[in-house]
Subunit: 360 residues, 2 copies
């Protein structure tokens, strides 16, 4: 019982600190939360919590603030799962409804998530390495350049210029496109690249051989996650005037280093937890610039996902991309986690729809 009240106190401290951003003392706790004991008792509990490493005081005789360990315990055990309000859910679908392309959808999703959480939001486009090919189109753009446009089953459109000494005539090109599409549709990018490489090596194709080789190289380079994933961000301005002062400058730096963010969120979104979102707190991010920040991520676009069923929404299969939010370690974890999960589900839905109704 002492045990359990202590954790109640921990929760109370964290909740208050998240709201006020100021060290919280024993008396203010007794005011705001009606746990039936006096401030002196709370003081004892807080001292114990400090011994165990859940709290610290910034200086002697000030209130306590949570440590990373405190936050970790909070998100693992103490956080009450609060589903989004119906209004918010409606907001999401409205906001995402009018989009005209995948690009547009993801951009909107980022803005939306930023608005809900009041923090930075990041949405990654589906990784090309995990997508399959729907269509390839090659059009000449100048006397020695061709543009290859690759369309995947997730609706993503990628482009890559190909250099060529000698431009094939348009008839050759169309037949080449047709063969490629016939043989590669539905395959992963990597295996498509392999297939095309065999085309390049078969003698009958003449001038097209070099083109095929180039295309194969292009596809292989696209299959590299880190290079070829687009990152949509929103809400960076919020950082500046929330805590303009101190520890947020390095965070902005980190955001420009998209590769770092990518790698971090990618690994985090893959370790599936019970509620589908991964949380990295402070140093758990293993990123110096994010020492004072936390990252909340969820994968989306799971294969065979059916987001609408199942009460706790456990989704199976590996995600094809991720969505996440970054904020200070003292962020509002419950609403952030709820928002990230909700947006991820909607995106899964949207991609899944096309998947389920796919043609050919």
């Amino acid at each position: 019982m002492t045990q359990s009240r202590r954790m109640l106190v921990l929760r109370a401290v964290i909740e208050d600190y998240i709201r006020s951003q100021e060290p919280v003392g024993s008396t203010s706790l007794t005011r705001n939360h009606h746990l039936g004991v006096s401030s002196a008792t709370i003081r004892n509990d807080m001292a114990a919590l400090e011994d165990e490493g859940y709290l610290v005081q910034p200086h002697t005789s000030a209130g306590r603030i949570p440590t990373e360990k405190g936050y970790r315990y909070f998100v693992d055990r103490l956080a009450t799962v609060v589903p989004l309000s119906p209004a918010q859910r409606r907001g999401i679908s409205n906001f995402l409804a009018g989009s005209v392309s995948l690009e547009d959808t993801l951009q909107r999703a980022a803005r939306l998530l930023a608005r809900i959480t009041g923090q930075v939001a990041v949405v990654a486009s589906p990784a090309l390495s995990k997508s399959t090919l729907r269509h390839i189109e090659i059009v000449p753009v100048s006397v020695n350049k061709l543009l290859a446009v690759i369309i995947t089953d997730t609706g993503r459109v990628a482009q890559h210029t190909l250099e060529a000494r000698q431009l094939p005539d348009s008839k050759q090109l169309t037949t080449f496109c047709e063969t490629v599409n016939a043989r590669c549709a539905g395959k992963s990018l990597a295996s498509a690249a392999a297939t095309i490489l065999t085309l390049a090596n078969s003698p009958e194709h003449g001038v097209m051989a070099t083109l095929a080789a180039a295309l194969s190289r292009a596809l292989t380079s696209m299959a590299d996650d880190e290079q070829a994933t687009d990152l949509y961000m929103a809400g960076t301005s919020k950082l500046a005037h929330q805590h303009s002062g101190t520890e947020m400058a390095p965070l902005l730096d980190a955001l420009e280093e998209q590769v770092v963010i990518m790698r971090l969120m990618n690994s985090l979104s893959e370790e599936v937890t019970e509620n589908g979102v991964g949380v990295a707190i402070g140093s758990e991010t293993h990123t110096p610039e994010l020492m004072h920040a936390s990252v909340v991520t969820s994968g989306y676009g799971h294969i065979h996902a059916k987001a609408s069923d199942g009460p706790d929404g456990a989704q199976t299969g590996k995600p094809v991309a991720f969505v996440g939010s970054i904020g200070p370690t003292h962020m509002d974890y419950v609403t952030t986690m709820a928002a990230v999960r909700a947006v991820a589900r909607y995106l899964t839905n949207i991609i899944g729809e096309d998947e389920a109704n796919a043609v050919g």
Copy 2:
């Protein structure tokens, strides 16, 4: 002569203030610049310059700082045109060399410009409204959705999903694409939309009519500059830890309002000045959030541009997009202007190459 020395003093004040970011006094001026008079004389000149509105003092008995009018006079008359160093020029072409697509090129250009200027850089993709059509491809992505991929002469690839009650079979689709491409290649988006609309209205096309109508609508909506221009940004983090304190928070806000930035830079890049770059200082931006910021822009991708000839690089024709840099009003105007101009020229070159060597 008094006149001319005064302006020398103005220039000296601005140069020092740009470097130090602190109000500059008469004595420090005599130290750093060897104008052959004493500090007392400088004081008189500075008082006169203040009367004329070129300088202000933040408070009585402090040094002077330039006003907007001061900066304006500086960029119009006083700024010495400093071409980029050969090393920097080489840096630019190296940096832009390895790009694999237009998207990639523009993104790199933004990063590059941000690094040179140490400020925020913005690069816009070529406006679809000013581009002509090279190729349209339509592929089905689900049972009631098609994806239209539009490729322009500038190498830009845009996408738009089309809803359809009933999916045409693949043979119909290919012939439709062929007709569209045959009739619309080389046309502007707007006129292509009109052409396709006539296709929709001619009775022979049956099921394709609704599709044609949808495609026409899509093209028209794309022809709207503000919606359909991608903005590539870089260097936003620099803002934060340069002057973290004060007036830069609203600037970050403004950056998220891409439409505002677009409109501003668009109009600014069109008023061609002698050296090809436009500068808006503080309130000249007509944007409350940019009250303490300046914007340096240049159009790129001029029709028939030949950037390699002509000593002062006057380029003819209307630009098809723009590139720019945003920073505090006390930015280093000379290097910023030089950098913006240089990057704009390189981009013009790259696009122009394809233009000049265009096929068909």
